[in-house]
Every structure is written in C-alpha cells, then in structure tokens.
Amino acid sequence: MSGSEATLDRRAARGAAKRRRARRGQAIAAISSVVVLGGLAALILTSPGWPDVRDTFFSWSAFKDSFPDVLSAFWLDIKLFVTVEIAVLILGLLVALVRTSATAALFPVRLLAVVFVDLFRGIPTILLVYLVGFGIPALELSGLPTDPLVLGGIALTLSYGAYVAEVYRAGIASVHRSQRDAALAVGLTEGQALRHVILPQAVRRVGPPLLNDFIALQKDVALVSILGVVEAFRQAQIFASSTFNYTPLLGAALLYLCVTVPLARMLDRLGTGASGLTV
C-alpha cells in the first residue's frame, strides 16, 4: 500500500521536475535572445556611421518610389527562374542517365556528358554568363539567339544542369543493385527497371539536395543583369545610382527572400519528414 503511494509521489515529483526544467529552458532562451539581439542592435544604432546608413539604406520615401518598378522587374526573375529550373531538371536528368548508362554504343555520349559536367561545373557561373552572353552573339551565326535574356538563361541552364546532373547521378547510384535485380527478375527490361523502379526511388531521395540547388539558382538569376537585362537587382541599381540612395537594393533583397525563405522551409520539412521518402 505504502509502496504504491511512494510510486505515485515519485511520479508527481518527476512531472514537477520536468516542468521546472522546461520553464527554466524557455527563460534562458528568452533572456539570451534579448541580450544577443539587443546587443547587436545597440552596436549598430550607436555606430558613428548609423545616421548616414539609415538615410541611404532605410529611406521610406526612396523605398516607396522605387518598389513598384523593382517588383515588376522581379517578375522577370521569377519567369526566368521557373523556365531555367524546368530546363535544368530535364538537362540534368538526361546527362545523369547518359553517365550512368552502360551501353557500349553510348560511349561517345558518355564521354561528352563527363566533359559537360566537368566544364560547366568548373567555371564560375558569372563567367559563364559573360562568355555565353557576349560570345555567342559575337559568332554572328544566323539562327543563334541574341536576346540577352535567352543567352543568360542558357548560361544558367548549363551551369546548374551540370550540378543537378551530379545530384541525380548520386541518387541513381544510391539505389541498391538488388532493386535492379528484383526488377529484372519480375521480367522487366533494363529500361523498364530504370523507369519504374530505380528512377522513382532516386528522384525521391534527391528531393532535398535538388531544392537546395533551386534556392541557389533563384538568387543567381540576378547574374543575367550583367548582360543588360533589367531584372529586379538591375532596376534597383538604376534607382540607386540616379538618387544615390541604396534603399531600392534592400527592396530587391526582400523580394528574393520572399521566394527563397519559403523554399528553405519546404526543404526543412522534406528533411525532417520520414527521411524525405514519404509520398
């Protein structure tokens, strides 16, 4: 009798201790946040240059004047991002499939795929945008695109296609060989095994790293501005250089964040979900 009472007492004591620990943890987190963030704010606000920074980077009137134009230019970023992303997903998959194929007849294509990845992954994206954007029109061949937006998109596709090809390839390689054996054993051809068994598993596994590359691409879309395309960053720059006020750039930065942060949260969810394999 007294034994079971003692057990109950201990259970209550454990519960109270657990609640105490939780409360203490929350209090410590709150205090340290206030100290760190408050300290940083104080440091910035009391810095000698703060009044100037406030006027050139946080001017409400400059923000109001520029934001509609920056926003409408940002639609170009979005359109380019979505188009390039789709092209990257297709190109990357094709290159990965060629690289993982074992057919002797495909050897030259396989070699080409290796060169493709080495080349376009190895060149800085900004340099690639320059080379494609100014090099291809300089050839003066008819039929080749001359629109800087298209050329910039091609450069981004090549660069990110090389990265994404490697992501896909890692995914394909991560599917155990026994899956291919099982697919062949039920009578599928090599192609059917790839299509119905190996690729679906590979693509599910590489979701998080692919999304990571999407976030990077969404920012790098701004690189086409060096070809003279007036997208959000360029539009903000135009305002900034004519008014000597940098607030429009901050407005552009906010717009990029509006896309990348939701993508990042999506990525987190994929990562913490049942190993990202849930369908």
Partner: protein, 250 residues
C-alpha cells in the same frame, strides 16, 4: 521414356575473378517437382540460382528451360526471365510502391496485362497468401514474414514455369519462418515446379522430392530427402549435417 525436365543444368561453371564458385553443376528439375539445394555458405547455391535467372552470366555449360537453351548469348534474357521467377533472401520489394503495385508491376509491364487484370490477379494472390487488407500498405510497414510472402506473390504473379527460392527464410526472425514456409507448401501443393535453396533441413525433408548437397561448386549428392539427409553417402555431406546438428539447426 521420361518426360522432358522443366529445368536442366549441364556442366555449369562460374567464377568471380579467380574465385571458382561453380565447378560443373549438373541438375534437373522435372515438372511439378521440388528440389531442395543444401550446402554451406559460399558453396555456390545463391550463385547457381542467380545464373539460372540470368542475373549472372555463366562461364561454361548450358541451362535449359523446357528443353530450350537459355544461356546462349543470342537468347533474349528478358524473355527467358519472364518464364521464371526468383524470390530473394532479402525480399527486395520495391519500397516506393504499395504491396498491390509490387505484385502487379511485372504482370502489367512484362506480361502485358491491363492494370485492372494485373491488380485483380494481385489481389487474389495476396488474399491467398494471407495478406488481404494490406494491398495499400508500403513494404516497410510489414513484418519480414509478410514482406517475404508479398515477394512470393510477386514472383508467382508472372505465372512462371519454375520458381527459384533463394534462402527465403534466412533473413527472418524464427517466429516468422513458419508463415513463409506455409506459402511455399501451398505452392508445392499446387504442383509448382521449384528449386529451393534452403537452410531449413526439416522443411527440405518435408517439401522436397529430392535434395541436392552442393559443396565447393559441385553437387556431391542428390536423392530423396530421407536418404540424403538421414543416410548421406559422402563424408562431406555427413560432416555438413553433423555441424548443423551440433549447432542445433536440425
């Protein structure tokens, strides 16, 4: 005149690098017959089964299915595999598909059945192996014994001429072995031609019409289970069985 065997293996050799795994295997499996293959790990049992299903290429010899050579390089391996079925030790179910899709995939993609046909056949097979109601689950949600029964249903869905079972209970917890063996008994009762690689001597004795002892890449002894398992002639077989007995496996 004895009828033509479903499976005939003649002088098959297979090496991996310098390791000779099969050194001339001869074996026949007649229609409706179940042949159990026993032998120590590394004796070549799994390799033989993989070679028969053309997942590994043999070096020499021939394998015949219904009198037709299947190991000729000119023969399309896909067409031959469609007439055979292999159940793996580790089940190798497709984790991204449901149980029903696992069983229906081969019927649809390899045998040209419509989705409706394939799924209704898959449903009745799952029912038969005690998995009714689990059609929409993923393999990972099942116990090992259930997964292996799905794998057996998947293999059988292709209406194979012969089934190859590669240590189908070796990866299972002891209490789950029985349900998988029941599924195999069920196939045997229906007269399915089978080549069964197994470590379950009691099961081999019960289900197999003949037992073969594979040692060092050759079949050293082949005969009715009572004889091979109770009165083995070869010292190698005697030693193998004594070791199993000492380990409490018989």
């Amino acid at each position: 005149m004895s009828p033509q065997p479903v499976l005939a293996i003649r002088g098959v050799t297979k090496s991996f690098g310098r390791l000779e795994v099969l050194r001339g295997v001869d074996l026949e499996v007649a229609e409706h017959e179940a042949v159990a293959l026993i032998g120590a790990s590394g004796s070549g049992k799994s390799t033989l089964v993989r070679c028969i299903d053309l997942l590994d290429e043999i070096d020499d010899g021939d394998i015949f299915l219904d009198g037709e050579v299947i190991t000729d390089p000119a023969v399309d391996p896909v067409a031959m595999r469609r007439r055979l079925a292999l159940v793996f030790q580790a089940y190798n179910l497709f984790p991204h598909l449901t149980v029903l899709e696992n069983v229906a995939l081969g019927d649809m993609r390899a045998h040209g059945a419509s989705r409706g046909e394939a799924e209704s056949r898959a449903r009745s097979l799952l029912e038969r192996f005690g998995l009714g109601g689990r059609e929409r689950d993923r393999p990972d949600d099942l116990s090992g014994g259930q997964q292996q029964r799905v794998a057996i249903a998947r293999a059988f869905a292709g209406r194979p001429r012969a089934m190859l079972l590669d240590e189908v209970t070796s990866a299972l917890d002891p209490e789950l072995v029985g349900e998988v063996l029941d599924a195999v008994r069920d196939l045997k009762a229906e007269g399915v031609t089978m080549l069964i690689v197994t470590h379950e001597m009691g099961f081999a004795r019960e289900v197999a019409d003949r037992v073969g002892f594979l040692h060092d890449g050759r079949i050293l002894e082949l005969g009715p289970p009572e004889r091979v398992l109770s009165e083995p002639e070869r010292p190698e077989t005697q030693r193998f069985l004594r070791r199993l007995l000492e380990a409490g496996r018989i």
